[in-house]
C-alpha cells in the first residue's frame, strides 16, 4: 500500500493513549492500595490473596469502561473531537480515476424473510431518495438452510427487483454449503465479485441504514484513501417489548459518551463490530482471509467472532480503522426478551473466548492484544464477579467466626481490633461510582443540551427513565452474571454452542418458559440468601441487590418481555429514544414495507390454500431458475427418488431439513414435487376457483 498523507500525528495518538492508560492504571492502583492496606493489617490470608487477584482484574475492567465514558463526556462537553473521521480534512491528494461502486451486502442465515425484505426495501428506497442510488448495488448473501425460508427469500428478492425496477442491481445468491458461516459467506462474495466493487457495506439481517448515512460513509472513504474500514455506531430502534425498549433507551442515552470515548483513545486503530460498517475491499481481500485454526472448538476451528480479528489484521497491515461517532442513521435491533438476550450472549461468548488464543498470536501489536483481551473480559468478567462474591462471602463468614483477642502477653491495656470499614466502604463506593457515573455524565449532558433531552421526553422523564433503567439493569445484572458464567464454563468444557439464528420477534414469555429459564436463578437466590442470612447476616444486607435480581428473575423476565408494557411505558414518555420522538425516514420506510411485504404474502397465500412455494408455479419456477446447473450423479439420483417415496409414504415430518433441502435443490425432483403438490386432489392442495 502506498502510504497516503495522514492528518493524525503519532504524537496525538501516543498522548491520548498514554493519558487513557495512566488514568485506568492509576484508578485501579488507588483502589487496590486501599483494599491491600486493609488486608495487610494482619497479614494476607489465601482467601484475601484470591480476592486481591480477582479485584485487580475486575477493577481494571471497570476502570477501562469508566474512563472511556468519562473521556467521551469530556469530549462532548467541548463540542466534539476534531480528530474524528467525520471532522478531519480529506487526505486524498488526487481524484479517483473512476467513480466508486459500492456493494451493500447482507449475509443472512434462516432469518425471517419478511423482516429481512422490509429492511432491505427501506434501505434501498432511502438510498434512491439521496439521488445517488446508482452508485450502489445490493447483494443478499444467503446461507439459509431452511427450504421454506430459502424459497421465500427468492420470491421476496424478485419482487423487490420488480417493485423498484432494479433488475441487475439487486442480487441474491444462496450458497450450496455454508462453509465458515458469516465470514465464509463474505469471503465467497469477495472471491466471486470482489473486483467489481471498491467498497462493501456489511449489513446484518436486522440492520437499517439511512441512504444519507451510506452516501456519507462512501464519501469519507473516498476522502481518506488510507482508511480501510469505518464503523458506524448502530443504535437500537423499532422496539416494543419493555426489555428491548429499556436497552434501546440506554444505548441511545449513554451510547454517545462511550462512542466518543472510544474514538478519543482508539483513533485510527479502532475496531469492527461485524455490521453497519463500510470496508475497502482491496485491503480486506488481501489481508483478511481467515484460516481455520488448528485444534477443536472452542479455541480451534473456524473463527467465530471474525470482525475483531479482521480489524486487527487491517491495522497490522498499516491501514486505518475508524469508528465514526457523529454518523447517525445507523440502526440495529435487539433481542426482545432477557432470555433471547442471553441466547445471543451464548453465541457471542464462544467467539469472544476464542480470542484468548488470538492474544498469543505472533505479530500483533499490544493494542490488538488489548482488544482481544477486552473481548474476552466482556464475558470472563461475569464468572470473575461470581467468584469475587463467593470469596467475599466466605471471607465475611471467616471474619464473623474470629473471636477478637484484646489482651496479648504482658499488655496491661486491651488492644482493640482495628476497623477497616472506612477503607472497604470507600473501595465499594468507588467501584459503584465507576459503574454508575457514566449515567450521570449522560444526564449532565442532557441537562446542558435541553433541546436534545426533549427527544427523551424532557428532563423529568429522562431522569426517571435513567433511574428506572439503573434499577432494571441492577436487577438483571446478577441473572446475566449467572448465565454468562454458565456459558463460559460450558465453552471451556468444550461444549460448542453452534450458531443458531437469532430471535428478533416480539413475543411475551409464558410462565412455564420463564420458570424453565430462570428457575435455577430463583433457587440460587433463595439458597444464597438463606445461607448468608443464617451465617453472615451483615453480608446478607450487602447482598440484597444481587439476591433481589435472582429471586425476582421470573416475574422480571416475564414483565419485561411484554410488548404491551413496553408500549404503555412509551405512552407515559418513559424510555423514549430520539427515533421514537421523531421517527427517521428510513424507519418509517421500514414500517411501511413491513405492511407491504406481509400483505403481499397474505394475498399470495389466500390464492394458494395451505400449500405454497413449491406449489406456487411462479415461486417454483424462480427457484428452479436460480438453482445451479449441476449434473446429478446416478447414486444421488437414486437417493433423491428414495426421499420422494419417503416423503409420499411417511410425510414431511420424517425428513430432516437437509433432506428437504436436497429435494428442492435438484431441478428434476423440484418439478416432480410441484406436480405432486397439485395432483393431491385433497382439500389441502391449491384450491380451485
Amino acid at each position: 500500500m502506498s502510504s497516503p498523507p495522514r492528518f493524525l500525528s503519532a504524537g496525538v495518538i501516543t498522548a491520548r493513549r498514554s493519558l487513557f492508560l495512566v488514568l485506568v492504571v492509576l484508578t485501579a492502583f488507588l483502589a487496590l492500595a486501599m483494599i491491600t492496606s486493609a488486608f495487610l493489617q494482619n497479614g494476607i490470608t489465601p482467601t484475601e490473596l484470591i480476592l486481591l487477584i480477582l479485584y485487580t482484574l475486575l477493577i481494571l475492567w471497570v476502570s477501562t469502561s469508566f474512563w472511556t465514558a468519562t473521556l467521551g463526556f469530556w469530549v462532548l462537553l467541548r463540542g466534539g473531537d476534531k480528530y474524528s473521521i467525520g471532522r478531519m480534512p480529506p487526505t486524498r491528494t488526487e481524484a479517483a480515476s473512476e467513480p466508486a461502486r459500492t456493494a451493500l451486502v447482507m449475509p443472512i442465515y434462516n432469518e425471517d424473510p419478511t423482516r429481512v425484505t422490509a429492511g432491505l426495501r427501506a434501505i434501498w428506497q432511502s438510498l434512491q431518495e439521496t439521488g445517488r442510488g446508482d452508485e450502489f448495488e445490493l447483494l443478499i448473501l444467503s446461507d439459509t438452510r431452511d427450504p421454506d425460508c430459502w424459497m421465500q427469500e427468492e420470491a421476496n428478492w424478485y419482487r423487490m427487483c420488480v417493485d423498484f425496477n432494479a433488475h441487475g442491481r439487486i442480487f441474491y445468491r444462496n450458497r450450496e454449503k455454508n462453509v465458515a458461516r458469516k465470514s465464509g459467506n463474505l469471503e465467497d462474495f469477495c472471491h466471486r465479485w470482489g473486483a467489481r466493487y471498491r467498497y462493501m457495506v456489511v449489513l446484518d439481517a436486522d440492520s437499517i441504514m439511512a441512504g444519507e448515512t451510506l452516501v456519507k460513509m462512501v464519501d469519507m472513504m473516498e476522502e481518506h484513501p488510507g482508511v480501510a474500514l469505518i464503523q458506524s455506531p448502530p443504535l437500537p430502534a423499532n422496539h416494543k417489548s419493555l426489555f428491548s425498549r429499556i436497552l434501546q433507551f440506554a444505548s441511545n442515552f449513554y451510547g454517545d459518551i462511550f462512542i466518543w470515548g472510544i474514538n478519543y483513545w482508539q483513533l485510527s486503530s479502532s475496531g469492527y463490530w461485524g455490521h453497519n460498517a463500510i470496508i475497502r475491499i482491496e485491503p480486506f481481500v488481501k489481508h483478511c482471509g481467515l484460516p481455520k485454526l488448528p485444534g477443536s472448538e472452542p479455541f480451534g476451528g473456524e473463527i467465530f467472532s471474525h470482525d475483531t480479528v479482521e480489524a486487527a489484521l487491517l491495522r497490522e497491515a498499516g491501514w486505518e480503522v475508524w469508528i465514526a461517532p457523529d454518523l447517525k442513521g445507523s440502526y440495529e435491533e435487539l433481542p426482545p426478551t432477557l432470555i433471547d438476550y442471553a441466547k445471543r450472549d451464548r453465541r457471542w461468548c464462544q467467539g469472544n473466548l476464542q480470542h484468548l488464543r488470538m492474544v498469543f498470536a505472533k505479530g500483533f501489536s499490544g493494542l490488538s492484544r488489548l482488544y482481544f483481551l477486552m473481548g474476552v473480559m466482556s464475558y470472563a468478567s461475569s464468572p470473575l464477579w461470581l467468584l469475587f462474591l463467593i470469596f467475599t462471602g466466605f471471607e465475611a463468614y471467616v471474619m464473623s467466626q474470629t473471636m477478637p483477642v484484646y489482651f496479648f502477653g504482658d499488655n496491661l491495656f486491651p488492644v482493640w481490633p482495628e476497623s477497616y470499614t472506612v477503607e472497604m466502604t470507600t473501595v465499594l463506593f468507588v467501584t459503584l461510582a465507576m459503574l454508575f457515573l457514566p449515567k450521570v455524565w449522560s444526564l449532565i449532558l442532557g441537562l446542558i443540551n435541553w433541546r436534545g433531552i426533549k427527544r427523551y421526553g424532557g428532563i423529568f422523564r429522562a431522569t426517571l427513565s435513567v433511574l428506572l433503567e439503573s434499577i432494571f439493569s441492577m436487577l438483571t445484572a446478577p441473572v446475566l452474571m449467572i448465565y454468562q458464567s454458565k456459558f463460559v464454563f460450558a465453552i471451556l468444557m468444550r461444549r460448542s454452542v453452534g450458531w443458531p439464528p437469532q430471535n428478533r420477534d416480539d413475543h411475551r414469555l409464558s410462565l412455564w418458559e420463564a420458570i424453565q429459564a430462570h428457575g435455577e436463578h430463583t433457587l440460587i437466590g433463595v439458597v444464597a440468601g438463606w445461607i448468608s442470612y443464617q451465617y453472615v447476616p451483615g453480608f446478607f444486607l450487602w447482598l440484597i441487590p444481587v439476591l433481589s435480581g435472582l429471586v425476582l428473575s421470573i416475574p422480571l423476565s416475564m414483565l419485561s418481555s411484554s410488548a404491551a408494557v413496553g408500549v404503555a411505558a412509551r405512552r407515559l414518555g418513559l424510555f423514549l429514544s430520539p427515533e421514537e420522538y421523531q421517527e427517521p425516514r428510513v424507519i418509517q420506510l421500514l414500517k411501511e414495507n413491513l405492511i407491504i411485504v406481509e400483505a403481499a404474502e397474505e394475498a399470495r397465500l389466500a390464492g394458494m390454500g395451505e400449500v405454497r412455494n413449491v406449489a406456487d408455479p411462479g415461486v417454483c419456477a424462480l427457484h428452479l431458475a436460480l438453482l445451479p446447473n449441476r449434473p446429478v450423479k446416478k447414486r444421488h439420483r437414486h437417493q433423491l427418488r428414495a426421499l420422494v417415496y419417503q416423503l409420499v409414504e411417511e410425510g414431511p415430518g420424517k425428513l430432516s431439513p437437509m433432506d428437504k433441502r436436497s429435494l428442492i435443490s435438484d431441478p428434476e425432483t423440484l418439478v416432480k414435487l410441484h406436480t405432486l403438490s397439485w395432483s393431491d386432489g385433497d382439500s389441502n392442495a391449491p384450491a380451485g376457483g
Binding site: D148, K362, V619, A621, A625, P652
Partner: protein
C-alpha cells in the same frame, strides 16, 4: 415450501387416492392454468379439455390421481412450449432459461399469459417485457482471490499456511 414443513399436511397426503370426479378434475386443472397466469375462461376451458384428453390417452385406465398428474404435466408442457415460442427460445435440455422466463411472467404484475396462446402482436410485446425482467440473480463474476493468512501462536498450534 410449506407443504414440506411439519405443520402442513399437503405432501403427506399425496399418496392418497384421489376421489375427484370429472368436474373436480377440470376445476383443479383450470385453477392450475389460472395460477399460470391465464385469465380468459374460454381459453382455460379449452386448454383444460385438451390436457385431459391427452392425459387420458397416455394414462389409459389409470386412477384419477394419475390422470390429474398427467394432465398437469401436459399443461406444463403446453405452457412452456407456448412461452418458448413467444420469446423465441430454441429447444434445450437446460430447464433454467425457460424457468427464468416462466418466473418473470408469473411473478411480474400486469403480465398476462393469455397472449402466449393468442399468436398475434401482443406476443411480441410480451416478449420485450419479459426479456427486460428476467431474473438476474448475480452480477457478472469479477473474482478477487482471498488467500487465508497464517497465524503463528505461542502456546497454541500454528496454522499450516
Amino acid at each position: 415450501m410449506t407443504m414440506m414443513a411439519e405443520a402442513s399436511p399437503g405432501m403427506s397426503e399425496i399418496s392418497q387416492p384421489s376421489g375427484m370426479n370429472e368436474a373436480e378434475l377440470r376445476e383443479q386443472i383450470g385453477h392450475y392454468w389460472k395460477m399460470l397466469g391465464l385469465t380468459n375462461e374460454d381459453l382455460i376451458a379449452s386448454l383444460t379439455g385438451d390436457c385431459l384428453s391427452r392425459a387420458r390417452r397416455l394414462a389409459g385406465r389409470a386412477s384419477q390421481a394419475e390422470l390429474l398428474r398427467r394432465a398437469l404435466e401436459e399443461a406444463q408442457r403446453r405452457f412452456d412450449h407456448a412461452l418458448a415460442s413467444a420469446i423465441g427460445m430454441p429447444p434445450s435440455n437446460d430447464p433454467h432459461p425457460l424457468a427464468a422466463a416462466r418466473a418473470a411472467l408469473l411473478l411480474t404484475p400486469d403480465l398476462s399469459a393469455d397472449c402466449l396462446f393468442a399468436h398475434d402482436d401482443s406476443t411480441r410485446e410480451l416478449k420485450d417485457k419479459l426479456l427486460a425482467c428476467l431474473p438476474r440473480s448475480t452480477p457478472e463474476e469479477s473474482p478477487l482471490p482471498m488467500t487465508p493468512v497464517s497465524f503463528r501462536f505461542w502456546l497454541f498450534k500454528s496454522t499450516d499456511h
